[in-house]
Subunit: 449 residues, 2 copies
């Protein structure tokens, strides 16, 4: 069998290191935007535009010739996570490789593969019949991995052109490889980082040890103070806006075919650990978290170096549940850090002000039923409604700017190691995804007709 | 004034990046040993040998033609600390630079400058009068910065050839730039490092956050558990062998002209912090410490990366006081870490088994009085007897293997940023040092005669 064209296109697309969080990759982010615009044009879409923003470009396109049919706005992103730690990759992160029915490379699953599916579906239709069963608009950003700082302003500014009956997101992920699912909720995000500084320079720990504060001890004490013995977040006020876990949601989770042991084995974890009083999926889907994503100070090389480091730093993100405000959370954590900062070190807290609230699709939204029908047809079994612990800020952004709800219709899978080394995407999802997107548009177009 | 030859020699010597703790520098360590052997030969010493060891070479030399005069064994080391963080250096660490009466470069103060002083003193004497007032032996190692793992065995094996009436150490440091001093005691060292590991790989902190243990939280909890609220070390049994602080030593410390505010300003620290119940110098000189020298895990780059890191690590060293055994201390800390390790992570502790006990020169040793006289003559004021928080394992090694006590007669100064960026050595010490070493040998030779 010859390799489908879409595989080569994904190899080309994922070969562009469009890491949006690290300025060193900026030119490649632009390169990916241009590649994408070219690809959209070739698919037969109209009005392909690469819009400059204060950050990375946003790419839009449209096809609006399905009179009286509904309009779908397709969302995706072309930026990717950093590849660190690069040494843990089996093949280079930006030289995508096919192995065992999978493609390995940074961004193949999040979100370049799923995004390409939507474009190839449009192309198949337009090149085949010359038309689409719905009106289609695309809005594709390059800053999803750094919290979409410019997307909201862009969408508000272009609300007229981007208006749609619903948003179909190519971003998101199926819960499992072996069961179709639709994600109906995701958590919000708040982020900050901080540094504690002791002396003006690294000091010899023999000469000076015992005399002055060790910033590594101070940051450990601060990080340790963020959770209590029950793994609850010990930041005063953190849970104030959190409603008690919804009974219906807990029942839905209880009814899912979830094998905790198997899940833990799949990620190589020894045991589930988290907030007391909640099962593992409840902790991941219904409860907020505070996780340190990076912690560092002093000497990390081989052998020893007897220093008292000048400073130590930590990066924190929180996953939020409905009604928690990111800015409030950052403020509460900052206050906690200030109150608990040990003697002898100065505390510097940095937060760039971006963040996202949690999002939930109304359970009776007709777009959900269409997604379930399309997936049932492709996979021959009912799709599960699941939730997601991660953050996709667009749900709230589109609801507020366009009055449209977002259906997450991605064909990546939660186990595909995005945000980790050896990210991969299942090649079988490419074909399944293209068929499902086509079917979705057909069903939606037929419903209105 | 033309530049003294010793300055050019120090520039050449310190230009060799003989970092002993990092295998990447191994060939340069050998290069430094060879440079040194050549230098000793040119000074007129006999029997210069570069001895291979399981680690880095040890260089010996001798001049034994002062019949019936005492024999002095000179100790020093030609290896240096790693240069990290390299970006904090004003000039490259291995391209020594003269600025404001100082020479800047890794190792110039610890210990290449002070070691060169001893060699140049011997050379001055031998090239001048063709003889020395004492018999001289040199033993110069290349593993001081990694805890001298092979020195003890070497000295025991060569105890016959190395036997001496006393050891003069070129390693050590004056307490202050403006007052001559002799260090009469130093603390011991125990070291270990450990890693906590959660899942088999880095995980997306949105997807998985709340479900499983975060190794960064675990390591912070472990590090925070090592001290109590009074900054005492909270490891059970840690203080068992520690005798109550010696009254005489406390009085000696109380009588020293020490301006705590000035000291703190000099290192850019806000305030003194440490074990409750002791003044700053007592904490640095008489009390044991436990300091984390490195702590790391997760993402440290620019921007954000929402991961739960697979693992986190820390490096620890302790400074010990008399009667604390390094192996016992490592065992107690290991037990503490095991007992306090949070759920959901595996703990791996590594200790290479080396360590040093604390050392103190007997107060009535005649070699101390000679050092005081030599310094008084060079500097025109009495030398202070001080202690040192850092570790020089050789005192105990020489006492046990050769029955000789060690007088620390170094001309580096405690503020010269060894073990930190921008290490420097005061050029004026070169001349003062050569004169003081010559005077020491003269006084010692005259005493016996």
């Amino acid at each position: 069998m010859t390799r489908p064209e879409i595989v080569d296109e994904l190899i080309a697309f994922a070969g562009i290191p469009s890491v949006s969080t690290d300025p060193a990759y900026a030119s490649h982010v632009t390169e990916a935007a241009d590649w994408l615009a070219e690809r959209l044009k070739r698919a037969g879409l109209d009005a392909v535009i690469v819009h400059q923003t204060p950050g990375h470009p946003i790419v839009t396109a449209q096809w609006l010739r399905a009179e009286s049919a509904p309009t779908v706005l397709v969302y995706g992103h072309y930026d990717v996570q950093p590849p660190d730690p690069v040494e843990s990759w089996k093949s280079p992160p930006f030289e995508p490789q096919l192995r065992d029915g999978r493609i390995y490379g940074r961004g193949v699953s999040d979100d370049k593969g799923p995004l390409l599916i939507a474009i190839k579906a449009a192309e198949a239709c337009l090149h085949g019949s010359g038309r689409l069963p719905v009106n289609l608009k695309f809005v594709i950003e390059g800053e999803e991995e750094c919290g979409s700082p410019n997307l909201e302003a862009f969408i508000k500014m272009h609300a007229g052109e981007l208006g749609a009956d619903l948003v179909l997101s190519a971003d998101g992920a199926m819960w499992r490889p072996d069961e179709p699912s639709i994600t109906v909720a995701n958590r919000g995000l708040a982020a900050l980082e901080f540094t504690v500084t002791g002396a003006a320079k690294d000091l010899h720990s023999g000469r000076h040890g015992g005399g002055i504060a060790n910033p590594l001890h101070a940051i450990a004490a601060l990080v340790a103070s963020l959770h209590d013995a029950d793994n609850r977040i010990a930041v005063e006020g953190f849970y104030d806006a959190v409603k008690p876990a919804d009974d219906a949601a807990r029942r839905m989770i209880g009814a899912l075919p979830f094998d905790e042991e198997r899940y833990l084995r799949s990620i190589g974890a020894r045991e589930g650990v988290g907030e007391k009083g909640y099962c593992l999926l409840e902790r991941q889907w219904l409860r907020p978290t505070l996780d340190v994503n990076g912690l560092w100070g002093g000497y990390q090389g081989p052998g020893g170096k007897t220093v008292i480091a000048r400073s130590a730093s930590a990066k924190i993100t929180c996953r939020l549940v409905p009604d928690q405000e990111p800015q409030t959370i950052v403020r509460l954590i900052s206050r906690h850090l200030q109150r608990n900062c040990p003697a002898g070190v100065a505390l510097d807290i940095r937060a760039d002000g971006h963040g996202s609230k949690a999002y939930e699709v109304p359970g009776d939204h007709p777009g959900l039923a269409i997604a379930e029908r399309a997936l049932q047809e492709i996979y021959g079994k009912p799709a599960l409604r699941v939730r997601m612990g991660a953050t996709i800020p667009i749900g709230l952004i589109f609801r507020e700017a366009l009055g449209a709800e977002t259906i997450f219709f991605s064909f990546s899978t939660a186990d595909e190691d995005y945000h980790a080394p050896n990210e991969f995407f299942r090649l079988s999802r490419l074909d399944e995804g293209v068929r499902a997107w086509l079917r979705y548009w057909e069903l939606l177009g037929a419903e209105r007709a």
